[in-house]
């Protein structure tokens, strides 16, 4: 703030700047407190990469429509079901996931997918939580019911770069949300089965496997979709087994049923098990944000006041 005084600004402006500064500080300090902040920033990076570098066939109105519908439905929920405002972050993530994964050339279908995504959170609930990953059910249900839209597992290409970037960023998010075991056990189930079949049984060369595991879509699913802490089983061991099952089912669907984007369908098929597993095995309910005491706004304000010369 010293420069503000040096400029001889009026006290009003200085006050405004002080508030602005404290607001920014609060935002910065609360950023690491919620894994969703990481997720939003990383997914945004991926979306920009896709649009500007990989030239996906997605136009701005589609993105805008997805966000409009998803955030709109969520606002409804906030208003009528008295949900916390911060739940908007979750639907922001769902919209980003839809933009990243779901492709369609018809606006109405895109709107429908966004609607199903968020509405599913209010409809498919058991034991005080939703059990479908919103983006996942949005994609699968839309494709099932309308026959329109598609997933492009190839849109990312296969590159070691993806393993690196998505792996590292995903790792940050997943450890933040304490769901690393989900990512790992899914990879063990899916990847293990693929390695055994392709490498040891069929004798494919190693680079065919590298090609498989550096696929951007698979990594994105591993670190950003199946690891959703809100909709997966609460009990840790159960979670590990469940993710293994998703991996194996994805392997089965892809290898024997020739389903494209099989991990997404496997997750869709096994999500309804979550309430049952939660009923059988109790666990802690997940909270996106831990209760915060040390950075309450009053303290922040107290700190910022130190800068005021009159107090000094």
């Amino acid at each position: 703030m010293e420069f503000a005084f040096a400029l001889h600004l009026s006290p009003k402006i200085i006050n405004m700047l002080t508030y602005l500064r404290s607001g920014l500080l609060a935002a910065l300090q609360s950023f690491p407190k919620d894994a969703r902040h990481y997720q939003i920033s990383f997914l945004l990076i991926f979306l920009f990469t896709g649009i500007f570098s990989l030239k996906w066939p997605i136009d701005p109105p589609q993105i805008f429509l997805t966000f409009l519908v998803a955030l709109g439905v969520q606002s409804f929920g906030i208003y009528f079901l008295k949900l916390p405002i911060s739940s908007l972050k979750s639907s922001f993530i769902s919209s980003l996931s839809l933009c990243l994964l779901f492709r369609c050339d018809q606006y109405i279908i895109i709107g429908l997918a966004a609607f199903i995504s968020i509405a599913s959170k209010f409809i498919f609930r058991a034991q005080d939580k939703h059990f479908f990953n919103p983006a996942n059910i949005g994609i699968c249900a839309t494709m099932l019911f309308t026959g329109q839209g598609w997933i492009s597992p190839g849109q990312w290409g296969s590159d070691g770069l993806w393993l690196f970037v998505v792996g590292i960023l995903g790792f940050l998010v997943v450890t933040k949300a304490n769901r690393l075991e989900l990512a790992i056990s899914f990879l063990v189930g899916y990847g293990g089965a693929q390695i055994i079949r392709m490498y040891f049984y069929q004798g494919w060369p190693a680079d065919a496997l590298t090609h498989l595991f550096t696929n951007g879509a698979l990594l994105l699913f591993t670190f950003f979709m199946i690891t959703d802490p809100a909709s997966t089983p609460k009990h840790k061991t159960v979670r590990i087994i469940w993710a293994l099952a998703v991996g194996l089912l994805a392997f089965y669907l892809q290898t024997y049923k020739w389903v494209n984007g099989s991990p997404i369908w496997a997750l869709f098929l096994l999500s309804p098990l979550t309430p049952l597993l939660d009923y059988l095995f109790k666990g802690e309910k997940f909270h996106w944000t831990k209760p915060i005491h040390d950075t309450s706004s009053s303290q922040l304000f107290a700190k910022t006041r130190d800068y005021h010369p009159s107090i000094k």
Binding site: C104, G157, G160, I168, I184, G203, H211
Partner: protein, 528 residues
């Protein structure tokens, strides 16, 4: 032993149970075969796939044979021999196209013209002959079926182990490249059958076909893929493949590789008209250099449904007729008299340049519901005819110079050509008036002067693509104007550059990534 050379080409595939089915050309004797551009028609209807394969087999007709892994034992009626002309027809219809427009003179009405030119990748053809065949038990290879379909003799083999199959092929006069065994193994493990296609010389003479006609196979399988790995068995080199895909639903794209649209709707300098073949070849090379070598490129996508009246816009050739579409295996359309039809049909043209390192997996496809249309279209804008005493001409000239500069920049970025040699291009058009000091205005440049021949030859600046990365496509004969001569392919100097370095960086990079992730995981464990 007959010395048989195995030439890899496109490998085609059908699928049923397990993995890919692919094919490779096999030649007898030491014929030097050249097999670079192959063309495939894929028709997908539900779980029924029809694949028609054509290759520009060039070599002694007697030295031709093809081994194709298939997922199932094909019945006699699943195998057809079709007319080669459908490939040429689809190629001409869907190739990249050049459109030219003539500006209207600022003060006068002029004719508006629209000429279309397209670049086709004509594939050449040759014929072949086949060898004798015996059955052999000790190879663990069984001949399941034998058919003679027109000029081809077809045997369907089932193998238990790759060693046996390799010995069987060797002992029956096919020389298998060293890498073939590893490539065969995954297909055998997936219970694929192999069929060997040979030319029956007597039948061929009786039918009077000098050229090898494409073979078409159909099968039911959820898999929708094209095995290319077997074709790369003998290692080095790049092969080009053009895929024409028909589907009811919409665009076809690859699921394990990126499908990237080629640049389109670009304004390019008018002299490109005379070099359109070279232009597109350079553009394609430059584009795969920018976008990546391990991608599949979309060149054309159009709704060919019966009710869609606009089957192309502009049309470089007549849109495919019912007979041609039916010949390629599309069986769900209803025809009304003549060449009209009703029913849903979507056409996709994909172009892929593949080699062993960039394409470790076979091509897997999916039908999407995307019915958006796409074409590779490049635009020429001819300046208007000069009109005297036209007040608007000065403005027009300024705009034209700007837009022609832009065209040159576009050309440079699209093709990687060094356009400094064309720096006269923006100013040289009819009616151009050179800005001159006051009092010295003498007149116009009457003739449309175009830089001399030497200046205009499009020598690419940098080409990191190896020369065989893309087979230079043939160009349709184009009228050559007096002032410009075309350049020969020999003038295309391509710098061979460190292509191989790029390949090697891939796997270490993946390893670094794995190590980093593992490290992070360990740190996380220790902390908690």
């Amino acid at each position: 032993m007959k010395n048989i050379l195995l030439i890899s080409v496109l490998v085609l595939m059908t699928t049923l149970q397990a993995d890919a089915f692919c094919g490779f050309y096999v030649a007898r004797a030491d014929a030097k075969l050249f097999n670079k551009t192959s063309q495939v028609i894929l028709v997908r209807n539900g779980e029924r796939t029809t694949i028609t394969m054509s290759s520009d087999f060039q070599g002694n007709v007697k030295d031709f044979a093809m081994v194709i892994p298939v997922p199932t034992v094909l019945q006699r009626e699943d195998i057809r021999v079709v007319n080669r002309s459908i490939f040429d027809q689809f190629d001409a219809y869907s190739g990249p196209r050049l459109v030219e427009y003539h500006d209207q003179a600022p003060c006068n009405r002029y004719l508006y013209d629209d000429v279309v030119m397209s670049k086709t990748t004509t594939a050449k053809n040759a014929a072949a002959e086949m060898s004798t065949r015996e059955e052999a038990d000790e190879y663990k290879v069984a001949v399941i079926a034998r058919y003679t379909v027109d000029e081809y003799d077809i045997e369907i083999l089932s193998a238990k182990e790759s060693d046996g199959l390799e010995r069987w092929l060797n002992d029956h006069g096919y020389k298998i490249p060293d890498g073939a065994r590893e490539v065969l193994e995954p297909y055998i493990k997936s219970n694929m059958k192999f069929f060997v296609v040979k030319v029956n010389l007597e039948e061929q003479q009786r039918l009077g076909n000098q050229l090898l006609r494409p073979i078409q196979i159909s099968f039911n399988s959820p898999k929708f893929m094209l095995p290319i790995r077997l074709g790369m068995a003998n290692g080095e080199g790049n092969q080009d493949m053009i895929i024409y895909a028909f589907s009811q639903k919409g665009r076809v794209e690859t699921t394990n590789y990126r499908t990237v649209q080629m640049p389109t709707d670009k304004n390019v300098p008018t002299f490109v008209k005379d070099y359109f073949g070279q232009f597109y070849t350079s553009l394609y090379k430059e584009n795969i250099r920018k976008e990546g070598y391990n991608n599949v490129y979309l060149e054309y996508a159009w709704d060919l449904s019966g009710q869609n009246q606009v089957k192309c816009d502009p049309c470089p050739s007549a849109p495919p007729l019912y007979a041609e579409i039916a010949e390629s295996g599309v069986n769900w359309l209803q025809t009304n008299r003549g060449n009209g039809y009703t029913g849903q049909l979507y056409f996709t043209r994909l172009h892929v340049t593949y080699n062993r390192n960039d394409f470790p997996q076979d091509l897997v496809f999916q039908e999407t519901s995307n019915r958006a249309q796409f074409q590779c279209r490049y635009i020429l804008n001819h300046p208007a005819q000069y009109v005297e005493n036209c007040a608007e001409w000065a403005n027009y000239q300024d705009e034209k110079i700007q837009s022609r500069r832009k065209e040159l920049r576009e050309l440079a970025s699209l093709t990687g050509w060094d356009v400094r040699r064309y720096r006269d291009y923006p100013n040289y058009f009819q009616g151009y008036r050179a800005p001159q000091p006051r009092g010295q205005r003498t007149g116009w440049i009457e003739e449309p002067t175009i830089p001399n021949n030497k200046n205009i030859s499009p020598k690419p600046k940098i080409m990191s693509t190896p020369p065989d990365k893309i087979e230079t496509a043939q160009i349709n004969p184009i009228e050559i104007s007096d002032s410009i001569t075309t350049i020969s392919q020999a003038e295309f100097i391509i710098d061979e550059e460190k292509e191989s370095k790029r390949e090697e960086t891939k796997i270490p990079f993946a390893m670094i990534a794995l190590t980093a992730i593992t490290g992070l995981f360990l740190i996380h464990r220790i902390k908690s």
